[in-house]
C-alpha cells in the first residue's frame, strides 16, 4: 500500500464510541496535568515579568526569528494531526497506516528539534543569549524546556511504534498508544501558547 493511499484512505474523523471516557489511562493524565501546571507557572512568570519590564518585553519579539517560530508551530501542529490520524487508523485495525502516521509525527518532532537548534545558533550570532535581558532569559528557559519535551515525546512515539510492530496494539486494545498520543498533544498545546507569547505579542 502506498503512502498516498495511507494518507487519503484511512478512516478519519471517527471518535471512539464510548462517551465520558478517559483517553489513554488515568496515570498519563496525572502526568499531563502536572506538566500543564509546570508550564502554567512558566507562563505566570512571563506575564509577571512582562508587566514589570514592559519595554524589554515589547522589544524582545522583534529580535527573534519569526520564521523559525512559525515553522516550528507548523511542525508541532502537523505532528499532532499525524498522531490523531494514527489513532483513527489503529481503531480501524489499520496497523501499517498507524505506523506510518506515527513515523510522520516523529519526523515532525525531528524537524522541530533541528529548526530550534538552528534558531539557537542564529540567536547567538545575533548576540541573543540567556543573559542578554530578562525577556531572553524567559525565552530560553521556556523554549529549552519545551525542546526537551519534544525530544522525549518523540522517543515515546518511537516506543509506541516498536510496541505496534510487536503486536501490542489493536483496534480493541490500544490504551498505551492513546496515552502516548495524549501526552504528545499536551506538548503541542504548550507550544500553541509559547509561540504567540514569545514571537508575536508585543
Amino acid at each position: 500500500m502506498s503512502i498516498a493511499t495511507t494518507f487519503f484512505n484511512t478512516t478519519v474523523g471517527e471518535y471512539p464510541p464510548k462517551a465520558d471516557r478517559i483517553p489513554g489511562n488515568g496515570a498519563v493524565w496525572v502526568g499531563i496535568f502536572a506538566e500543564m501546571t509546570e508550564f502554567a507557572l512558566m507562563f505566570m512568570v512571563y506575564f509577571l515579568a512582562r508587566v514589570h519590564y514592559q519595554e524589554i518585553f515589547a522589544e524582545g519579539p522583534l529580535r527573534l526569528n519569526t520564521m523559525a517560530g512559525m515553522l516550528n508551530t507548523l511542525a508541532m501542529l502537523t505532528s499532532s494531526y499525524f498522531v490523531a490520524r494514527a489513532m483513527n487508523a489503529i481503531r480501524a485495525d489499520q496497523l501499517v497506516q498507524c505506523g506510518r502516521f506515527l513515523w510522520g509525527a516523529v519526523g515532525c518532532g525531528v524537524v522541530y528539534l533541528i529548526i530550534k537548534y538552528w534558531e539557537y545558533r542564529w540567536n547567538i550570532e545575533q548576540g541573543i543569549e540567556v543573559e542578554t535581558n530578562l525577556f531572553f532569559g524567559v525565552y530560553y528557559y521556556m523554549t529549552f524546556n519545551h525542546f526537551l519535551h519534544v525530544g522525549w515525546g518523540s522517543g515515546a512515539i518511537i516506543w509506541g511504534i516498536w510496541r505496534l510492530k510487536t503486536g501490542a496494539y489493536s483496534a480493541k486494545d490500544h490504551e498505551g498508544l492513546e496515552a502516548i498520543a495524549s501526552y504528545w498533544h499536551m506538548i503541542d498545546l504548550t507550544w500553541i501558547v509559547m509561540f504567540p507569547l514569545l514571537y508575536v505579542f508585543r
Binding site: Y15, L77, Y81, V193, F195, Y199
Partner: protein, 94 residues
C-alpha cells in the same frame, strides 16, 4: 463549530491561524485589535487541538473542562497584561 470539521479541516484551520499570527508578528504593529486577535488565535488553536485532535469532545467532563479552561485563561491574561499592565505591576509588587 468544533463538532463539524474533519481532522483534515482542523489541520488546515490550524495552519491558516498560525500563518496569520506570523504575519501579524511581521507587521510590527501593536494595538488592541492585534492583541485581541492574538488572544483569539490562542483560544481557537488550543480548543481545536483539545476538542478534535486530543479527542476530548466526548471524554470525561472534568478533564475536558480543565484543558479547555487553560485556553480561556491564557487569552484572558494576554488581554489583561496588554490593557492594564501598570495596575497588574502594582498588584504584584512586594
Amino acid at each position: 463549530m468544533f463538532a463539524k470539521p474533519s481532522v483534515h479541516q482542523v489541520w488546515v484551520m490550524l495552519m491558516v491561524i498560525t500563518i496569520g499570527s506570523a504575519l501579524l508578528a511581521e507587521s510590527g504593529e501593536t494595538n488592541v485589535l492585534i492583541t485581541l486577535l492574538i488572544a483569539l488565535s490562542v483560544m481557537l488553536k488550543g480548543r481545536l487541538v483539545v476538542e478534535r485532535l486530543m479527542e476530548l469532545r466526548n471524554a470525561n467532563p472534568y478533564i475536558r473542562f480543565a484543558m479547555n479552561f487553560y485556553f480561556y485563561m491564557v487569552p484572558a491574561l494576554i488581554v489583561m497584561v496588554y490593557l492594564i499592565p501598570d495596575q497588574l505591576a502594582q498588584l504584584t509588587t512586594l
